[in-house]
Amino acid sequence: MKIRLDSVVKTFDTFRAVHGVSLEIESGELVALLGPSGSGKTTILRMVAGLEFPDGGAIYFGDENATDIEVRHRGVGFVFQHYALFPHMTVGENIAFGMKVSKTKRSTVAISDRVTDLLRLVQLEGLQDRFPAQISGGQRQRVALARALAVDPKVLLLDEPFGALDANVRRDLRRWLRKIHEELGITTLFVTHDQAEALDLADRVVILDKGKIVQTGTPEEVCRAPASAFVMNFLGDANRLKVTVSGEKAHVQDVAFDAPGIADGPAELFFRPADVTWREDGQGIQATIARVIDRPDSKRVLALTVDGQAIEFDTAPEFPFRADTRGFVDIRRPRVYPA
């Protein structure tokens, strides 16, 4: 089912949560809404679900205007951040709930067969008689998914699906969710503040800031060509240097970088810590090493430019230099944004 948001607006009391967001999600696509807290991503997800109603704009499911359809008739599967499993029901009863309350009557046998199938799908065979409190966080998350899938939703919505899990479980579940998505092909929209999660899982990433979409694209597009300084910063560690642009060239000390389409005047130059080579002499920005931090697979170097701007970069573990060494920072793949 294709989903289309048309200039959706939502205001809470005095706080504008979502400012005119328009977005199309193709049928069968897996899309991440990525943004810091307060960026409106969860509000958008809840409006798609029908748990909140927009103050302006419209939401279409296929060709149907779904803006005012109540959540119980909207046919979405919603996985809550803290799973919201019914604590007084077993895993099996939780998964069966949607089928039991449905208008389409199913026989007890049909329901129990479907529960068994879903438990197999989420790899929790044999756990149907446990209560939610008796299973682990990762298992609860999978029960929540099975429960949402049980009602054959047109759209699957997940709110911070891995937020409450620790790192290893998170990574495994991520890969597993991607596999399930490929098997079932349900249009899926999920919310996260973790860029690694979004890039790892989604076909397309929608980056939000202060209730507005700042960039939409495949993980490759947003990583290789961040549309703004915010996106550059939000997607990963980034260094920022103050530069002066003149004639589409950004100048730091006596080094010039291409700055196509940037107006003359002060601007900001960004680069990733991995895109730096340290040179003892030659070209580059003059800097002094302030500190070297050891990491399992690399060294992180903290340096100060001659004019006192901080730079961080990653080097091989064999990096021989120590604090107070002077040298030159050679930057690859710089990006210049207006200040």
Partner: protein
């Protein structure tokens, strides 16, 4: 080889003298203030034999008072339960202007002396009161009759159910209801299959406390009932009358009924707390439990 017994220093507050003294003080206090009076009621009630006890209870005025109390409870408790659930639901699941004020107003009966409630009802429904004349011309008797007693009892016990439910429902949040609705359940279905099962022990607990208070209420009821023997006397009022009649044994016998009721309430309360504590199989709280190994923030 002689064993040298090394004395470890006691933990703070674990010195034996301190322990024994503290426990002794508490035990003596409980014995004097709580157990002794209850024991006296039991002993005095039967001091002239079981036959006399039976005769006192069988007295038509006493029987009427018992009926009156039971009837009041039968009306006031269900109404207050419904009100309590509605209030707790509204306060915890919806946002509306005046929500915090409502939370405070609901608690007023806890902090106000019941006699104030009684007097207030006098002013509203009494002959000189706001609706007094209108009620009299319509021939509706509220004061010095069952409706007044029920109203006063309801005022005093209005917060009991809501007070038990609000913290629990606040902790549970709206996620469960939202989940049920997103799965296609109607409002009623959500309430009966999801909300109610998760609050049932707290609800029952609130009902029991409410009931025991309705049956035992004295102050507010004594003002509005008019104390008419055999007509508007509830059990607590009747006990006082018997006592003023120098019928100590009768008073104690009637009091023993209320005391027995208190004991039943207590047993039910402990049993419910056990159910509440036994959350391993049927846990009450929503969300991931903090003890789960995979649940780290």
């Amino acid at each position: 080889m002689a064993q040298t017994k090394t004395r470890r220093p006691p933990r703070i507050g674990e010195a034996p003298v301190f322990r024994i003294t503290l426990i002794a003080i508490v035990l003596v206090f409980v014995a004097l203030v709580i157990v002794a009076p209850l024991a006296v009621i039991g002993v005095e009630a039967f001091s002239k034999g079981i036959a006399y006890f039976g005769k006192t209870i069988a007295n038509s005025d006493t029987r009427h008072a018992i009926m009156m109390t039971a009837l009041t409870a039968l009306i006031a408790v269900p109404i207050n339960t419904a009100f309590g659930v509605a209030a707790a639901w509204a306060i915890t699941k919806f946002d509306f202007p005046g929500r915090r004020l409502l939370l405070i107003v609901i608690e007023i009966p806890f902090s106000v002396s019941p006699i104030v409630a009684g007097v207030a009802y006098m002013f509203v429904y009494g002959l000189q009161g706001l609706f007094g004349e209108a009620l009299q011309s319509a021939d509706v008797k509220i004061l010095f009759a069952l409706p007044g007693i029920v109203l006063a009892s309801m005022f005093v016990t209005a917060p009991f159910v809501a007070r038990e439910l609000i913290p629990l429902m606040q902790a549970q949040g709206r996620d469960l209801e939202e989940a049920a609705t997103s799965l296609g359940a109607s409002g009623w279905r959500t309430f009966f299959s999801v909300t109610l099962p998760n609050i049932k022990w707290a609800l029952l607990y609130g009902i029991i406390l409410c009931n025991s208070r309705v049956m035992g209420e004295f102050g507010a009821v004594s003002v509005v009932s008019g104390n008419i023997r055999g007509q508007t006397n509830t059990l607590p009022l009747h006990i006082e009358l018997l006592y003023h009649d120098y019928n100590a044994v009768g008073a104690f016998a009637a009091a023993s009924i209320l005391a027995a009721l208190a004991v039943v309430t207590l047993i039910a309360k402990v049993a419910l707390e056990r159910r509440g504590a036994g959350r391993v199989r049927r846990p009450t709280l929503a969300g991931p439990s903090p003890t789960s190994p995979e649940t780290k923030q």
